[in-house]
Subunit: 210 residues, 2 copies
């Protein structure tokens, strides 16, 4: 499902630098999943990635830079949005994708590790925010097209509708610990759709707040 | 705003044991806010609380037990629900309270620290889930009373409506990093209210899913 990896502008696509980055990021991901952020050791990452220690220290320098680069890579590889033809269908596809990701053993552990790391480090937090901004921008057209189709009111804040789909899923995942399954995903999508139809996400709110 | 502290059944209310617990939990809270979970040292907590080290080691034994007890204490002190007479009003009061808590410098740092700690420790996660379960149960009557008043359909899942109010606020706080303010709180409450009125939180969903 992920789109083909796109190496950022500073790398030669498919070249040695890109291959090194891919191997190092994969090793960093493994370390995060197994040990969390505090378990990341650059020398160990280099060993696992079969890359010279000097390369890893010179290129990334610290675990937090490495994790920020991993988050940027995750954003680049984020799954393309759905185009089912209805807002309910698109949002449901989005919610189910989020649930599949968060309940996947590896991906779930990875998200917990990076979110925990972001609570204690500003640079990691910025990379995390960029990841979500990219994801929200990818899915926002589902809402703008629903506006064009007349499914939801003019002026609906597309990003906020996309956030509203993920929010109850992350709340369960990180805070309340309530179960996460397909039914929960569908309900999150349907609730966001209902609220959007009712104009709850129209900006400026003043005219529709009550 | 917090209700008066209620010592749990195993303590003599207001006695020395309760005073020791309060001092130790306050010191643990300070340590979490300043250094995060990994910065908690029982000897240092005892010193700050002006309590004997032996007492702290015997009673709590480890940082994770101490943090779990802090979360149980936070649940006991959780703010009483609003009774404004309308679902929109009650949910708005709830959302504004959550935003005030998460944007408060001390409380925000405390929540980030315990949520981060819960990602890596099952016992802390269970205490965190108890905290949210207590909070959700406290606010659920706002929804059941709205059902009785006919504001939202019979069979509305009250807990899920309460979760839906907090969810977009926590999503911004922990994941996307988008701003948290009173307008965001009001919109979260209003969206949950709209979705509830539309029947999005009625169980079983099958009859109202589409």
């Amino acid at each position: 499902m992920p789109e083909p990896e796109t190496a950022p502008g500073t790398l030669r696509p498919g070249g040695r630098t890109a291959r090194v980055r891919a191997a190092v990021l994969r090793a960093a991901e493994d370390a995060l999943i197994e040990c969390g952020f505090d378990g990341i050791d650059l020398a160990e990452v280099a060993r696992r990635a079969e890359v010279g220690k000097t390369t890893v220290y010179r290129r990334w320098g610290s675990p937090r830079v490495l994790v920020a680069d991993l988050l940027d890579d995750m954003a680049e590889q984020s799954v393309a949005r759905a185009e089912t033809g209805s807002l309910d269908g698109d949002l449901r596809a989005n919610a189910r994708l989020v649930v599949r990701t968060l309940t996947d053993e590896r991906q779930g552990a990875l998200f917990k590790a990076v979110i925990a790391a972001a609570t204690g480090d500003e640079r990691t937090a910025e990379a995390l925010h960029r990841f979500y901004a990219t994801r929200i921008a990818e899915w926002a057209p589902c809402v703008t097209e629903a506006v064009e189709r007349g499914e939801v009111p003019e002026g609906t804040d597309a990003a906020e509708v996309v956030r509203a789909v993920s929010a109850p899923l992350y709340y369960r995942f990180l805070a309340s610990g309530d179960p996460l399954d397909e039914a929960v995903a569908d309900r999150a999508a349907h609730a966001a759709c209902c609220a959007a139809r009712a104009g709850a996400y129209v900006e400026p709110r003043s005219s529709l707040a009550e």
